[in-house]
């Protein structure tokens, strides 16, 4: 594996391999000294052109737990605001000795461009509404640990699918791992053409809720680029939010995931958010381990 740009091209064995390695790294993270020297001497550059503290910190934690050095770039204080191009910026950081770049950018395909321009292994940390593969890995890991396997589970992804890179990465990863995925959203929040997506679609959360093994909630904004996509947040909570009433109708072993940060009172009622079946904090811990697995596989081998 040279780059991780999305989950569409990861086959079953590649996904299982990453999840298995992630389990090993979870064990490492529980040790008194949660650090191994596997990537000693390597430099991981986190290039976050879209603000995100949580994901960037997660990658940096993962790099450091593997004993790699980190270079952290964010646009606020940089020359990018002086008009330096993306290409020049990444080539400059590459010239400083980065061995791998984690790239988050608001433009679809930016990480692929970066890989072309630098020749370095690149991890997509989120590109526009396209893909966020490490999120899908940590989600799959969380589900696997909670339910024993992802295979055969019925997973519902609820929310603004059209604009969600998390949804796109999750759909392909979960389907490849053998789950049955259903997208649940109002029509205005569904992509225009779902040809080739390995999943079902529903616009009625209440109809499918009782059958789900996993409820995956996406963040919702009612404003996207100035255009109104949904009447109001209150309307959304009523039709698609995980309220206390809906939560009570879930099967006892059904779990709830969310990529964070949660909008309590919008996609999820506050009381539900704190229930032990909501695995958001597990997702965060698993996120570090999943990212360690990715960094290890990209940098720690003969094909690196």
């Amino acid at each position: 594996m040279r780059t991780l740009l999305g989950t569409e091209d990861l086959d079953r064995s590649a996904l299982d391999g990453l999840l298995d390695d992630a389990e090993t790294f979870l064990e490492v993270l529980e040790r008194p000294i949660p650090k191994v020297p596997a990537l000693r001497g390597r430099t991981v550059a986190t290039m976050f052109f879209e603000p995100s503290t949580r994901t960037r910190l997660s990658f940096e934690r993962a790099a450091k737990a593997l004993s790699a050095d980190t270079l952290s770039f964010s646009p606020g204080t940089s020359s990018l605001s002086k008009g330096e191009s993306l290409k020049d910026t990444v080539q400059t950081i590459a010239a400083m000795g980065a061995d791998l770049m984690v790239v988050r950018h608001r433009a679809v395909g930016a990480p692929a461009r970066v890989a072309e321009w630098t020749g370095l292994p690149v991890v997509n940390g989120g590109d526009g509404a396209h893909q966020h593969p490490t999120q899908a890995l940590l989600d799959a890991l969380t589900i696997r640990r909670a339910r024993g396997t992802v295979e055969g589970l019925r997973i519902g992804i609820v929310g603004d699918i059209a604009h969600s890179r998390v949804a796109r990465s999750d759909v392909f990863a979960f389907a490849t791992l053998g789950a049955e995925v259903t997208l649940i959203a109002p029509r205005t929040l569904l992509p225009v053409d779902l040809t080739g997506w390995p999943c079902d679609v529903s616009t009625d959360l209440d109809a499918v809720l009782g059958d789900l093994d996993v409820v995956y909630l996406l963040r919702v904004q009612t404003e996207r680029g100035g255009a109104s996509v949904f009447p109001s947040l209150r309307e959304y909570l009523r039709r698609f939010g995980l309220t206390r009433e809906r939560f009570a109708r879930l099967r006892p072993d059904t779990v709830v995931l969310h990529p964070g940060p949660m909008n309590r009172g919008v996609e999820i009622e506050a009381a539900v958010a704190d229930d032990p079946r909501a695995l958001v904090l597990d997702q965060v811990t698993n996120g570090v381990a999943a990212r360690m697995a990715v960094l290890f596989q990209l940098l720690g081998g003969a094909d690196a």
Binding site: L86, K87, G109, A110, A112, R113, G128, A162, V192, D193
Partner: protein, 425 residues
């Protein structure tokens, strides 16, 4: 003695296609026949077609104002390499061609460069801002016959109606860049590829709603109306039905819309596949090819849109729209549609010349006709690897094409000659 003989090609006249020699002197064709005598210059046309030089009614020369992308000189070199004997420069320069001095400047630059005829199109609205009409009479006096705000549509219906009335009165052509701005704010065609990639899409109705509205206004005003770069099957239907009703409508299609569809964006999301209107579905491409063969789409126009490397070397949605195409237009059209000889020259030369009233161009070879000709070999396969343009943003570089321009003659002068013959490597 003749100045120039084009020897042994299949010459496409307005009544026949036959192997004859073409003899040229004093800038015009003086003889057509077998085994013409010696000439000062000879071009071996065996195995190739000889016909009217191509005319492009949609070239962005980028001069004045954006010369880092292209200028009249480099555009002229690319054009003659592509077999063109005349090009119409689009008015979205900086400043825009919305008054006679700019129009004259562009035409004079073309004369100075001296490779082919450069004609100016004029903006419809001042500065192309869409709020008031440009100096249309002033432009007309400078020789402008085609008016367009290309790069932008005239979206306001009242403005469009007024422009059609004004230009229609003079007998000019109003050409529309048919993209509704409120539906056109995306990066690529709205379909399954844009949905997979998470990109905002531009639906086909962004084009068809504008054309449908415009056709109603054309019916009212009677002005000649030309749809630029048709990309959607729905537009083809509207044009066909308008023509059936006798409306003065013409339409152009680009070589890239005949060649590529939206799946080209998958994989590397290369901005070399980003243009406006966007590449659409395979069904649209098929409809465009059929429409060109049937004559519903009258002509090919390149929409040659150079952009510098640093402008296109960015993530997909940040790149400016457009690709270059003058050098490979004929080859691409030949590869994609395999038109018969007459339809080919109708689309590439005769119809565009008629659109803008260029009476010296687009004329089938005959004694007395000005010698604006192209020698085109429709069978040779090759892979473009370089360009005369200042810019490299071409989707054809590195792709095999069938058909190549062997030589271009403007006003009886050989302005492009690859030195190839049927036996040449």
């Amino acid at each position: 003695m003749l100045d120039l003989v084009l020897r042994g090609g299949r010459v496409v006249t307005d009544s026949s296609v036959a192997v004859v020699d073409v003899g040229i002197a004093g800038g015009e064709i003086v003889a057509l026949g077998g085994h013409l005598g010696e000439a000062a210059t000879e071009i071996d046309c065996s195995g190739a077609l000889v016909g009217p030089g191509f005319v492009d009614v949609h070239t962005h020369v980028r001069e004045p104002g954006q010369e880092w992308k292209e200028d009249v000189a480099s555009a002229s070199r690319a054009a003659v390499a592509g077999g063109y004997t005349a090009i119409v420069a689009m008015p979205n320069t900086d400043p825009a061609i919305d008054s006679s001095p700019i129009a004259r400047f562009v035409v004079e630059r073309g004369s100075e460069v001296g490779l082919l005829d450069v004609v100016a199109a004029g903006a419809i609205t001042a500065g192309r801002h869409g709020t008031r009409l440009a100096h249309l009479d002033d432009l007309w006096d400078a020789g402008v016959r085609l008016f367009t705000d290309d790069g932008d549509a005239v979206a306001d219906a009242a403005m469009m109606r007024r422009a059609l009335e004004y230009i229609g009165d003079r007998g000019g052509v109003l050409a529309q860049h048919a993209v509704d701005p409120s539906l056109g704010a995306g990066a690529m065609h709205e379909g399954w590829v844009s949905s997979r990639l998470g990109l905002t899409g531009i639906p086909a109705v962004a084009e068809t709603t504008i054309v449908a509205r415009d056709l109603l206004l054309v019916a009212e005003t009677g002005c000649r109306y030309h749809v630029q770069h048709v990309a959607a099957a729905g537009t083809v239907e509207l044009i066909a039905s308008a023509k059936d009703r006798g409306l003065p409508v013409t339409a152009e299609v680009t070589p890239h819309h005949l060649t590529f569809d939206h799946t080209a964006v998958l994989g590397t999301t290369d901005p070399v596949y980003k243009m406006m209107p966007p590449l659409r579905e395979p069904d649209d491409v098929a409809a465009l090819r059929d429409a060109l063969r049937a004559g519903v789409l009258d002509m090919v126009a390149t929409d040659h849109a150079p952009h510098a490397d640093h402008e296109k070397d960015v993530p997909f949605e940040e790149a400016p729209n457009g690709v270059t195409g003058l050098e490979w237009a004929a080859a691409a059209v030949n590869t994609a549609t395999a038109l018969d000889e007459r339809s080919f020259f109708e689309a590439m030369s005769a119809a565009p010349a008629r659109l803008v009233g260029l009476t010296d161009h687009g004329r089938y070879p005959a004694v007395g006709v000005p010698a604006n000709l192209v020698v085109f070999d429709p069978t040779v396969t090759w892979v473009p690897s370089e360009t005369m343009s200042r810019s490299q943003n071409s989707p054809y570089l590195g792709r095999p094409l069938t058909g190549a321009v062997r030589a271009t003659v403007v006003d009886g002068r050989v302005v492009w000659d690859t030195g190839g013959g049927a036996d040449a490597p």
